[in-house]
Amino acid sequence: MSTTIDPERHAMGVSMKRKEDPRFIRGRGNYLDDHSMPGMLHLALVHSPYPHARIVKIDKTAALAVPGVVAVLTGEDLAAHGLAWIPTFHGYDKQMVLCVGKALYQYQEVAGVIATSRDAAHDGAELVDVTYEPLTPVVDPFVSLQDATLVREDREAKTNHIYHWEVGKRDETDAALAAADVHINERIVFQRCHPAPLEPCGVIADMNPGTGRLTLILTSQAPHAHRTVVSLVTGIPEDKIRIIAPDLGGGFGNKVPVYAGYVVAAAASVVLGVPVKWVETRTENLTCTGFARDYHMDVEIGATKDGRVTALKVKTVADHGAFDAAADPTKYPAGLFGIVTGSYDFPTAFTELDAYFTNKAPGGVAYRCSFRVTEASYAIERAMDILAGRLKLDPSELRLKNFVRKDQFPYPSPLGFVYDSGDYHTTLQKALDKIGYTELRKEQAEKRKRGELMGIGISTFTEAVGAGPSKHFDIMGIKMFDSAEIRVHPTGSAILRTGTKSQGQGHETTWAQIAAEELGLDPQNILVEEGDTDTAPYGLGTYASRSTPVAGAAIAMAARRIREKARIIAAHLLEAPLDDVEWSKHAFNVVGIPEKSITMQQVAFAAYTNPAPDSEPGLEATFYYDPPNLTFPYGAYIAVVDVDKETGYVKVRTFLAIDDCGTVINPMIVEGQIHGGLAEGFAIAFMQEIVYDENGNNLNTNFTDYLVPTSLETPHWDTDSTCTPSPHHPIGAKGVGESPNVGSPAAFVNAVMDALSPLGIEHIDMPLTREKVWTAIQAAQK
């Protein structure tokens, strides 16, 4: 492999093959469960069958008698170590690790059994004898808000109401709605679902008496944040804690929260002095780990009769489950829901939200949601289509009429964001042209004459990612910067470490591409490492599409720091004044003397063999990047569907996604992200839901009941892009990982509702199962 680089070749924007793939295609990945330590014990958890119950007694005797069982831990045992409760990431609540006195949701963790083998641990777990006194569960947030049954006796305020949040101008918005020619008001529900990555969560906890350090090999999307939390909760100093996030088999927000198994394994290791491994089952993953969504939104839009929107009001009831464990930045209990004005220029807007406890698993912020942006985007895109229907305007026309215009950026939204850049008209027009929108509408008109149900659905979302500026964003007090550390070796290759943690997004490749572009090095020779808190610089991890906006920027800035020092070395080597030395065409050149040129490789060698006077040897830099703003990727998605009236089956005939994420590092990787997110949006729109029945039973506890579409159901995706760089980002990149999940559910639902509109059906909540569609058609045809 050559270490010289063609000065005309750029690494940015190149669809280079991924550097991480060689180990995965050989089955040589290092996922959590692939790891083992000598003397390691296994942990299995015991779960409550009741959604709400007092725990009267826990009898460990039979479990302890199982050969191989070493210990059984309960909430009481953890309390003795001060670990019965831990703070939630949002910071204003705490949650039980194991049940303390009560079980608050079905499958809540009640006890942990530690044994010499996995089989023995599960045999033991079956025999832990728990006596419960069932209580009435609260399952419906609209019942919870009546406070007839209290979910959380431990809290000071004796109410199920967790918090109220609002932003915008209430009175002005109410007045505008009252005065509007047309006023729509729709209850739009985003159902509870679950990110369900294929690799479940787990940990190996090793409190090593020999080193005095607690090492956690942990399925963590945010290892440094987890290390700090572990330190705060256990009192173990951070230098004595090491968290290693290995290869992760998908995250999608599922591997951000702290789960009972992690804490129990760590406590067990502390008590027993040996490593303890916990790997959850799929059932545990679906029933105990952080769910997503569960927002009940009343959306009101006011408009003039020719289709100019005048006001937006959204009132939400949020079902948080038994603890407020929504992993939001501290000042944003409802995440970035304020993006709900979307791509439209609303003169005024107001949104408020009330969150309630119920006897369900905790969570809320997960599944590629960008901190509740999925809920907000779905609400506004659905509502705009409902408005279009009321106004008898084509939905594309309504959007084009109300988009924020290109010349309005940076655009201050009525709900407090400043959108960095966008060209919504161009992107939507590109989508309409590419899909042949006019022809499709003609086809639809023909089909409608024959009573066939064909639908076209548009979603023009704007989302907010890249959390975030220290002025506004922190997680448990830690500001949401991110970091990069780059060290260039004498022979011109480099190592790069960041505070992010890929779960499949391809950072080992894309981060190398950024650094390679900035430094004139070969990306194949830039080793990228993430996930080990002993070596990586502090960062807040990877979720909410923040990695490229924040850590990507840190990489560019760290590389530029290196370039500045390299320029000094170059001036020394070129024997030219520093001011005459510039970086262009991936080399240091003396202005006006083209033959006096030197590459970064040559500079790197000199940094160690012939350092510049008054300059340290070596060539490295660290940068902690505090973003000045969020970034606002956006897109235009169009779905075409055909509905089978007899069965309610919806066939997605075509799906076109045009995404604008600003500068693209690796188009192949971006396209892959889009494909994956669209598949998730498709699943959510048509088949995914976590349902608790009226008795608090979780009905979707495994992959036979919680449905992940296969290659056969999943449609083909057509993708394209426009490029509106972010003006405040060092390389103009905005991030894109969550956009497809943010934007696509509305496109699917809008398409189905468009198909059903001749029957007078205005809205159906997701998932649009065959039965829901069929039932609506039956009712309309009566």
Binding site: R118, D119, H122, D123, E126, T281, T283, E646, T647, Y649, M687, V691, L699, N700, T704, D705, L707, V708, P709, T710, L712, E713, T769, R770, E771, W774, T775
Partner: protein
């Protein structure tokens, strides 16, 4: 999830299997494909004390055609049917079912006989077996008996196979003359059990009337259900649009599903009718007749 402990025995022959079944009685389960049993054991919903593995029994995976029958041995895998040349022409109903049971990997191990013995109310093979008027050969210590499929399927997860017995083969009638069938299934995704399913099997007499008709629905009761009223409507008659619709309506009426995550009672009943209608249409098309 991890199964509870059990004792494991291999049977090298059917006689050995039967002897082991006699020895262990109700504590023992046969392990053939294992694609229903093992998941149940992982959840500890099934906890047999003894597993008798019949996979080592040689020549139990046969698929034989002849003597007016298609016969499948106890170890005939779903996927093996997909590889029988021309099966779709001779036995379209069977071929169609074999392509939609579970998923393509599970089908490599899953067996037709095993599926019948498991008798999940939403299983596919029971529906096709009913429509085809299949028979199951059962062997115990006392000897062999042939059980008509209507008698074989007793209740959810319950068949005529008694303790100490095992099913040896299933026989699908294959009379000469014009016969055809069709399977229709609604599943939310590949690998899901049926939300609703329907199997039709019919033979035509020389005068173009239905000589024999089998109509069954799945996920429509404790076990797959024969729609005798629909069969009676069609037997001896020429197919007409109205007759086929009436038969489909009978299916919707007779269907007795339970509500679950896959659908409400109303939806499943309606779909039973829709799918019987489509299966009838498909069968007529394959018979080369048009319903007027």
């Amino acid at each position: 999830m991890f199964p509870a402990a059990f004792d494991y025995h291999r049977a090298g022959s059917v006689d050995e299997a039967v002897a082991l079944l006699k020895q262990y009685g109700g504590d023992a389960r046969i392990l053939a494909g294992g694609q229903s049993l093992i998941p149940a054991m992982r959840y500890r919903l099934a906890r047999p004390a003894v597993l008798i593995d019949i996979n080592p029994v040689a020549d139990l995976g046969y698929i034989r055609e002849g003597d007016g029958m298609l016969v499948l041995g106890a170890l005939a895998r779903d996927a093996a049917l997909e590889r029988v040349p021309g099966l779709h022409d001779r036995h379209p109903l069977i071929a169609e079912v074999s392509a939609v049971v579970a998923d393509p990997v599970v089908r490599q191990m899953g067996t037709v006989v095993g599926s019948l013995c498991h008798n999940d109310p939403a299983g596919d093979w029971a529906v096709a077996a009913l429509a085809s008027r299949a028979q199951v050969v059962v062997r115990g210590a006392a000897g062999t008996r042939v059980v008509a499929i209507d008698d074989f399927l007793v209740d959810s997860f319950t068949t005529a196979v008694a303790d100490g017995e095992m099913a040896l083969e299933v026989r699908f009638p294959a009379p000469s003359g014009r016969t055809a069938g069709c399977y229709q299934k609604i599943e939310r995704k590949v690998g899901d059990f049926a939300t609703a399913s329907a199997a039709v099997w019919a033979s035509l007499a020389a005068d173009g009337t239905f000589a024999e008709v089998g109509i069954a629905v799945g996920a429509a009761g404790p076990t797959a259900k024969r729609i005798t009223a629909a069969e009676a409507l069609l037997r001896g008659k020429k197919p007409t649009r109205d007759l086929l619709r009436a038969a489909a309506d009978e299916a919707a009426k007779a269907a007795d599903p339970s509500a679950d995550g896959r659908g409400s009672v109303a939806y499943k009943k309606a779909m039973a009718g829709v799918l019987v209608g489509r299966a009838l249409d498909g069968t007529c098309k394959r018979l080369g007749i048009e319903a007027l």
